[in-house]
Symmetry: C2
Subunit: 681 residues, 2 copies
C-alpha cells in the first residue's frame, strides 16, 4: 500500500474517532441503561463472545449459499447452541441473548416462541405431565399449524376439521380441500416432528364448534419419516431471500386419528362422550398472542438500533459533495436531509426498546391476572398490543430501508448488511395479523371507548386521550393550537393526544354521516397508538433523572423528545386537517407546520455530535452487525474490499462460461464487423 | 382430487372470469393504445412467443440458484438472444421487446445502454470508424466506468487520473488510492473486455481539467485475461438478492498507457502537443444521461403494470373476511382499503407508460437540436428528466412493495414474483443520481425560473405553473380553494399547479429568512415535478377521444383522473400547510381534505369493475409475469402448489442434516426429559 492509500483510509478512522471524542455521552452508563443494567449487559457480552468465536457461527459465506445450504447451516447452528448451552450452563436470559446476538433465524425458533407456550398454557395437566419435559428439552420439536393456504388472518374460517369420534375416543384431523392445507408453518417443512394444529372442532351431530387446538405427531421419532395420513413439505423460498434459514412448510391431513387426550383442553373441553364444556372466558387463550406481539416491540427496537448504528457510522466516515472548512468534502452525515432522516430512527430505536421492556412487565402482570381468571385488563392490553404491533412493524421495516438508502450506492451491496435485516423483517407487517386488518380492531376498541367515555368516568390507559374531549368538548371550531410551543415536549404530547381524540371523534361522525374514507382505519389506528406511546415517552422522560445516567440523562431526554417531535411531523396531515394546529395563513410567514419542521431540524442538529456515541451505546459488535459499512473502526472501504475478495466469482480470473458463452459471441461479432467494414470498401 | 377440491379451485377461476365478463373495457383496443399501435403489440407478442418457448429462458429454477449460477445462466441467455436475433432477423424494436419481456437483467445490458451510446455520441470520427462496427456487433463488449469506491453522485471529485504524456502521445490511466477504484460498474466484473473510463484529465504542468472520457481495453480479446496494469473483480452480491445476474465490478489502474486517439474527443479535445480545446458547450455531453433517465420512466411504468396485474388478479380470486351476499367470504379486492391502494398504482402504470413515450419523442427532438449545437431546451429538459427520474423511481419502488403487501402472507412467497421485481428495481433510487441529491438540482432550476419569471415573459414547460403567481399574486392571505370541486379534473390540475407555485415561493422566502427545513428540497422537487406531470396528464385526457378507443376512452379517462386525484391526496400536507385548500373548520363536517379522500374512494369504486381488464390490457403472459399469484386463469392455489413441488428441499422426505443435526438434538432432549421425570419420582 502506498502512503497516499494509507492516508485515504486513515481518514475514515480519524472521522469516526473524532465523532467519539467530541461526544459528551457517557457510553457505558447509557449502555447499561439500554440493556436493563450493567449485569444484563455483561451477560449479553459473555454470550456474544462465545458465539462469535465459534466457527459454526462464521458468517463469511452467508451470501454465497443456496437456500438449502442456508437451512442446513442454520440446523448446524441450532445443534451447536444446545451444546454450548450445556457447556456454559446458559439460563433462559442467556438463551434470549443468543437469539438477539444471532442475525440468522433458526429453524426451531417456532418451537420456543409458539409451540411450547401454547402447549404449556393451554394443555391439560395430564398432557403437560406427559409432554412437558420432552418439549422443554426438545426431545420432540414442535410447530404451530394455524394458517392455511386459503386462510390467514381470518382464523374463524379455517377449513381443517377435528371430528370427535366417541366410539374410539379419538379426534379425526382432516384437510377437506386443497385450500385447507396448512401453509407457512415455521419449522414444519423439514424439522418438526410434532405440532399444535388449529382445526374446527366437529362434535357428533356435525356440530361445528369453531377453531380449537390439538397436539399432533407429524413425523416418526425414530426415523423422522412423515407419518401415514399426512403429507408434508417445504413451501419454497421467500421474497427477497428472506427467512431462508426457516423451513416454513405445508401439511395436509387425510383422516388422521389422534387420541382424545391430545386436545389442548385447559379452557374448552370435550368429554369422552362428546359433550362440549365451554371455556370460562372466550378470550383466555389470547395470552400467547399478546406475548408474541409484545416481543415484536423489543425486536423492532433492536432492528432499528442496528440500522441506526450502521448508517450513522457509515455516513460519518463517508465524505461527498461540498467542500467543508477543512478543505475536504463534507461528511455525508453533516447534510440536514441525511441527519434529519437518521436521528429520528435512532430515537425510535431507543423508544421501542424501552417500550418493549415495559410491555414485557405488563404482560407478566396480565398473565398472573389471567391465571386467576381475571380478564378486566384484557381488552385494553389487546388494543394496545395490536396498535403497537402495527406501529412497530410498519415503522421498523420502513426505517431500515430509509437507513439503507441513506448510504447511497454502497447501501445496495449485500455487505451493507441492512438488505438482509429488511427482507427478514418484512413478513412482520403481515404475520400475527395483517396490519390493515388489525387496524380495524384498534379502531373498534377506540370507538367503543369513545362511546363509553360519554357515560362513564372510567378511563383506560389505551384511550386516556379521550379525557380531552370531555374537558374542552368537541364544539371548538377553530384550530386548537394557533402557535404551539414545540420546544416544550409536554405540548407535543398534548398535540398528539388531541390528534387521537379528534381522529376518533371525526371517525364516529363519518360513521353517522355515511362511511369513513378508505384510509380512515389506518389513520385512526396510528393516531391512537401514537398518543398512547407519547404518554409512555413522557413517563420515560420524567423518570430519566432517577436512572443513574448522570449528565447523559439530558442527552437521552433530547433523543426521546425528538421521538415526539418527529412523530408529530409525520402526523402533520392529521394535525392540519383535523384543526389541531392552525394552517399557514400566508406564504410570507411559516405556520406551525413549518415551525415544527424547523424544531425537528434544530433538535437533530443539537443531537448530531452525540449520534455515533448514542448508537455505540447499543453495544453491537462487528460480528453482530456483520456490515462492511458499519465497522466500529470506521475503515469501511477496507472492509468492503476485504469482503469482495471472498466473492466466489473472483476465485478465477477467467470466468466459467467464457468459452461456452462469451467467446462465441465475440467471434460472431468480429465476423459481422469485418463483413460490415468490407462492404463499405 | 375430490369433487370438493375441484370446486374450491374452480371458484378462483370463476371469480376471475366473472371479473372479465362484467368489465366494459375493450381490451384489444386499450392494449393497442398502451403499446403504441396494434402493429407494435403484435411484434411484441411474436418475440415473447419465441423466448417463452425456448428452454434457455426457462424460469423454473431461478430461485434455487447461487448468485454465480444466476450469472452463468444469464450469460447463456445473452448468447441465445444473439442467435435468435440472427435466426429471426430481429430489428432494434424487436430487441427492445426482448429486454421488456425478460425479467432477468443481462450481464451485457450496460454495453447497449451506456457503453455504445457514449462512444458513438462522444467519440471522434476516427475512433467510431475503428470501433463502431465491433461495438455494434459485440465483437468487443464494453462497460462504462464512472463511479468509484469513494465517489458516486459527485462526479466532479472523481480521483482516477488520465495524465497526458506528449512524448509518447499517450494517456496514463491511474488509480492513485483505494477509494479511486472504479466500483459498481455493470458488465465489468467478469464479462467486458473494453470500457469507457471517466478520469480527471491532467495536462502537462499538472493542470487538472476535470473529468473526461477514455476508451480503455481491459481484457485480452484472445484469452479474456485481464491486461497488465489493471486489477479487476466482481464486487459481490447485492442487497436482497437484486441484480444477481449482473457482474457489477471493480477496476484499479496502475499507470496504464493508452493511445492519444482513445480519448472520446468529439467535444473536448487534447492536441498531440497537449493543448486543451474546450467543448463548444459545457453540457453537450448530457444527452446520454437524459436518454437513460427518459427510459427509466417507461421501465417504471412497465414495472408498475406488472405489480398491478399480479395484485389485482390475486386479490380478485382471494376470498377472506366478511361473508358477502353470495354466502362466501368477500373477495379481498372488494375492501376499500385494498382497492384504494391498488387502483392508484394501476393509474400510475398507465401514466408512466404514456409519459415515457412522450419523453422518448422529446429526447429524439432534443438530440437533433444538440447535434446542430442548439442548447436552448437543455436546461428545461434536464430539470424535467431529473424530477421525473426521482418521481418514477421512488414511486415505482414504493408501489411494487405496496402491491406485494396487499397480497398478505402469500405476497412474501418468492413465487409471488414481486419480491424480485422490487429488489431489482431498488437501486434506481440511488443510481443515475441519488434522489436526495437530484432533488436539489430540481429545486435550483425551479428557483431560477421563479426569479426569472418576475422579469421575463418566457415560460418554460417545466415551470409553467409559475404563471399563477403572476395572475393572482402571492398576496392572497386565505386558502385559495375553500371548497374545490374535486370531480372536475381541471380543478385538480390547478390545485397541483398552485401547490408547486406556493412551494417554490415559500422556499424562496425561507431562503431569505434563514434556511429551509430539512425536507424542503424533497417537497419542492416533488411538487414541481407533479405539477408538470399533471399538465401532461391533462393533455392525455383531452386527446383520448381521438385515439380509437371508442367507449373505452371514458374508462381510461377515469383512470387518468384517478392519477390526478391520488396525487393530490398524497400531497395533502402541502395543500393544507401552504394554504392551497382550506383546513377543516370544525370536526362535524369534513373539510376539502376529507372531500378529496372520499372522491378518491368514489373514483376507485367506479373503476373497480374494470380493474382486471385494465391490467389485462398490458398484455402480460404468464411467462412474463412468472407469478403464481398472478396467473391469467386465476387458479392461484394450484399454481402455488405446483411451484412448491419444485423446491429442492422437497426432493427427499427426510432432510439432509437429519442424522447429523436433528437426531442428536432429539436424543439429548429425550435423555434430559427422562432424567427430569425420574428426578420427580
Amino acid at each position: 500500500m502506498t502512503k497516499v492509500e494509507v492516508d485515504a483510509q486513515a481518514q475514515t478512522a480519524l472521522d469516526i474517532e473524532a465523532a467519539r471524542r467530541n461526544a459528551k455521552l457517557d457510553v457505558p452508563a447509557t449502555r447499561a441503561f439500554i440493556h436493563g443494567g450493567e449485569d444484563a449487559w455483561k451477560a449479553h457480552q459473555r454470550v456474544e463472545a462465545i458465539l462469535s468465536a465459534d466457527p459454526v457461527f462464521d458468517k463469511s459465506q452467508k451470501y454465497y449459499m443456496t437456500r438449502k445450504e442456508t437451512y442446513l447451516k442454520a440446523l448446524k447452528m441450532q445443534k451447536r447452541i444446545e451444546e454450548l448451552r450445556d457447556i456454559h450452563h446458559w439460563d433462559v436470559r442467556d438463551m434470549s441473548f443468543v437469539h438477539l446476538a444471532l442475525d440468522e433465524l433458526l429453524p426451531m425458533g417456532l418451537h420456543v416462541t409458539a409451540f411450547e407456550p401454547v402447549v404449556m398454557s393451554q394443555g391439560s395437566e395430564e398432557l403437560k405431565a406427559k409432554f412437558g419435559p420432552l418439549i422443554k428439552h426438545r426431545g420432540i420439536i414442535g410447530c404451530y399449524l394455524q394458517t392455511e393456504l386459503g386462510h390467514g388472518t381470518n382464523v374463524s374460517q379455517l377449513e381443517t376439521t377435528a371430528t370427535y369420534i366417541p366410539e374410539s375416543e379419538e379426534f379425526e384431523i382432516h384437510s377437506p380441500t386443497l385450500t385447507s392445507t396448512k401453509w407457512w408453518i415455521g419449522t414444519l417443512g423439514k424439522t418438526a416432528n410434532f405440532g399444535v394444529v388449529q382445526a374446527c372442532l366437529i362434535l357428533p351431530g356435525k356440530r361445528d364448534m369453531g377453531p380449537h387446538l390439538f397436539l399432533v405427531q407429524l413425523r416418526s421419532l425414530d426415523t423422522h419419516e412423515v407419518l401415514p395420513h399426512i403429507k408434508i413439505g417445504d413451501i419454497g423460498p421467500k421474497a427477497m431471500g428472506g427467512y431462508a434459514s426457516v423451513d416454513n412448510g405445508y401439511a395436509r391431513f387425510d383422516h388422521l386419528r389422534i387420541p382424545h387426550s391430545q386436545m389442548l383442553s385447559k379452557f374448552a373441553q370435550v368429554t369422552k362422550e362428546g359433550k362440549y364444556i365451554k371455556p370460562p372466558h372466550s378470550k383466555l387463550s389470547y395470552g400467547g398472542m399478546l406475548y408474541i406481539r409484545s416481543t415484536m416491540v423489543t425486536t423492532a427496537g433492536r432492528m432499528l438500533a442496528k440500522a441506526a448504528t450502521v448508517s450513522l457510522r457509515y455516513t460519518t466516515v463517508r465524505r461527498q459533495g461540498n467542500k467543508g472548512v477543512d478543505g475536504s468534502e463534507c461528511q455525508v452525515i453533516s447534510y440536514p436531509p441525511v441527519y434529519c432522516r437518521l436521528l429520528p430512527i435512532l430515537s425510535r430505536a431507543y423508544v421501542f426498546i424501552l417500550l418493549g421492556r415495559n410491555l414485557t412487565y405488563a404482560y407478566m402482570e396480565l398473565s398472573k391476572q389471567l391465571s386467576r381468571g381475571e380478564t378486566e385488563s384484557l381488552p385494553d392490553m389487546h388494543a394496545i398490543t395490536s396498535g403497537l404491533k402495527i406501529l412497530v412493524s410498519t415503522t421498523s421495516v420502513h426505517d431500515v430501508e430509509v437507513a439503507r438508502r441513506s448510504m447511497g450506492g454502497h447501501g445496495y451491496s449485500a455487505y451493507s448488511g441492512l438488505g438482509k435485516v429488511y427482507s427478514d423483517a418484512l413478513p412482520s407487517v403481515t404475520y400475527e395479523g395483517d396490519n390493515f386488518v388489525l387496524d380495524q380492531q384498534v379502531v373498534r376498541a377506540a370507538l367503543k371507548a369513545h362511546n363509553q367515555s360519554q357515560s362513564s368516568t372510567h378511563q383506560s390507559t389505551f384511550s386516556a386521550f379521550l379525557r380531552l374531549l370531555k374537558e374542552k368538548g368537541s364544539e371548538t371550531q377553530i384550530a386548537l393550537f394557533e402557535s404551539p410551543n414545540w420546544v416544550d415536549w409536554r405540548v407535543v404530547v398534548e398535540v398528539l393526544e388531541w390528534r387521537a381524540a379528534r381522529s376518533v371523534e371525526s371517525y364516529a361522525k363519518a360513521l353517522e354521516n355515511g362511511q369513513p374514507d378508505a384510509s380512515a382505519d389506518q389513520r385512526v389506528s396510528r393516531a391512537v397508538t401514537e398518543a398512547y406511546v407519547a404518554t409512555q415517552v413522557a413517563d420515560m422522560i420524567q423518570s430519566l433523572s432517577r436512572l443513574g445516567l448522570g449528565d447523559s440523562a439530558a442527552i437521552v431526554g433530547s433523543l426521546l423528545t425528538l421521538y415526539l417531535l418527529s412523530t408529530a411531523e409525520a402526523a402533520l396531515v392529521d394535525l392540519l386537517s383535523l384543526g389541531v394546529i392552525a394552517t399557514q395563513s400566508a406564504v410570507d410567514k411559516g405556520g406551525p407546520a413549518e415551525m415544527l419542521r424547523l424544531e425537528v431540524a434544530r433538535s437533530c442538529r443539537e443531537l448530531l455530535p452525540e449520534a455515533v456515541s448514542l448508537s455505540d451505546a447499543y453495544g453491537f459488535t462487528d460480528w453482530e452487525l456483520d456490515s462492511a459499512l458499519g465497522v466500529y473502526d470506521g475503515r469501511v472501504y477496507n472492509a468492503l474490499w476485504d469482503r469482495v475478495q471472498t466473492e466466489p466469482l473472483n476465485k478465477s480470473e477467467i470466468t466459467d462460461g467464457y468459452l461456452e458463452f462469451i467467446k462465441p459471441l465475440l467471434e460472431r461479432g468480429k465476423k459481422l464487423a469485418n463483413e460490415e467494414l468490407k462492404s463499405k470498401l
